[in-house]
Symmetry: C2
Subunit: 342 residues, 2 copies
Amino acid sequence: MGKRKETITIYDVAREAGVSMATVSRVVNGNPNVKPVTRKKVLDAIERMGYRPNAVARGLASKKTTTVGVVIPDISYAFFAELTRGIEDIAKMYHYNIILCNSDLKKEKELQLTEALLEKQVDGLLFLGGKVTDEHREIFNGTDVPVVLAATRDEAKNARPFVTIDQVKAAKEATDVLIREGHERIGFLGGPLTDPLIGYPRYQGYREALEENGMSLDEDRVRLGNYRYHSGYDAARELLESEQAPTAIFAVNDEMAVGAIHAVQDLGKRVPEDVSIIGFDNIPLASQVRPLLSTVAVPMYDIGAVAMRLLTKYMNEETIEEDQVVLPYRLELRDSTRLKEI
Amino acid sequence: MGKRKETITIYDVAREAGVSMATVSRVVNGNPNVKPVTRKKVLDAIERMGYRPNAVARGLASKKTTTVGVVIPDISYAFFAELTRGIEDIAKMYHYNIILCNSDLKKEKELQLTEALLEKQVDGLLFLGGKVTDEHREIFNGTDVPVVLAATRDEAKNARPFVTIDQVKAAKEATDVLIREGHERIGFLGGPLTDPLIGYPRYQGYREALEENGMSLDEDRVRLGNYRYHSGYDAARELLESEQAPTAIFAVNDEMAVGAIHAVQDLGKRVPEDVSIIGFDNIPLASQVRPLLSTVAVPMYDIGAVAMRLLTKYMNEETIEEDQVVLPYRLELRDSTRLKEI
DNA sequence: CTGTTAGCGCCTTCAT
DNA sequence: ATGAAGGCGCTAACAG
């Protein structure tokens, strides 16, 4: 039962239209070297037979799949979901499809997924958010497929092109806001310091800000979490219940920052009257909380879009003027801090 | 410059290992019919030459791409991002990759993307969240590629398999919570009534709940938005500033519900003391707001996972016992309503 | 257990 | 402007 739809090929169309398959191929691919009448004949035959080109066969013959691979930590993070939207929009614009893979930031998964993507003959690869190790480089360098890093970077020489923001500087400016508000005890809610992409650089920015303002970094005011709301909540709660509790908190991402807001509130205090809080990223949540969260607005969508655009340039072998793009961020001072401008 | 890495094929490996390509193919595909020593020879050659199988060629020859297409409204919605995570996890488990496409719920895009995915010879297709029209059915029925609907359904005869929840019933139960709290003026924050997947059924549930409890549906207490936070905020604000303002609100999704919470608070009132609010979906935001949002917990991840699992069964031609899956939901009563159990 | 031989459906010179 | 023919790299019978 369920009679298999016998696949109809370019050859069938050719026969039906009374031309050669080369001609059919030409009209399908928009080659101008086809007489209008011939083209019409072919188009009609295609229409009549319901012909659907086989992209796999085309890929094998042409060595192009119009597909790019995207290795991402976790699509369920608002940050990466937004970024992916930027990628996909630009990909669509250039007629590429994306194969999406979640790596959970696990090196082994990243490597394995990258391999799988290359086997699938993707025309390009977007690598998001993971640390680039020698093993990564070995794979990246061992292929002609262009690779662009997004929301991460590789400091190594001969590094891959990337699109990101200046994490340290942004973190420093965020901390500066708190300093200028006059706070002397500024808490820090971070991620793993072993994370070279977010955790460490944002910590570094915090530290530099304090140091440049002659303030000492007190380890007791540093708490490390996993970037999630609850870890932010818990860490902030600890901080606030300690002696010498901070009067301001810089959280390295918005989820943790919102957790901190609620920790403050649950303790019967107020933001920003009692404790100022600033986050990082500017995910939708930041403007869906009371008070509205002050934060570093990271152009998530743009990072994805620009990275994808850059990748298309490599795939088309266009000349690249700028292969290491540092996008601007912006301080978005809302209601969880008192300072309204800097 | 940039000497092209000459692609090394199964044929090269065969020569290097001193066997035929068929044998190489066998070891690459884990065919047991290979003598251990031979296998080792081949494996060594593969290792030595850095051979990477070409999945496109394999796809053409085997007519399987181990790739499934996913048409989704918008990956940047928490709801769909979560669902996609479920899809991808199960896909990975069964060694499939997913090609992700955002449709923005536009019919034309959905159709065009579906076509493109079929051209790419995906082994299966997951269609999320859009309304299924005759044009969709025409494409779906015109191919042997199995199609599973997720978070949507098609009432038509000979319909596609689907995985979803009972929207009407869930909406009714959510409204019931408010009714049992004794509210007589229950506002409704909905989506377009022309949306047959969310907007209409959830409205219907609201209406049925009222009717079954002998309450009349007052159109003045119905506000329609676009599912986003701000539209929820604005609509709730209108509702609350009207005469005969509702004392409880059912919002058809969490974003709007949280908008409503803030509208109430910005008006100087309290949730749930002055106004009870219940949402729908249980996205992370629901537990990242104060008060914690009571809502209908939809198993987003599971919908994706189950749909993908179902699809694998079709792709493997396993026998399907249940092709129309209605997953259970759960009322998650937190702090934005007063009733704690039902 | 291993090798041979056809394709899979299409693109792409190269002729005509 | 069109056709003929040779791959693209691999799988899948079918022999042996």
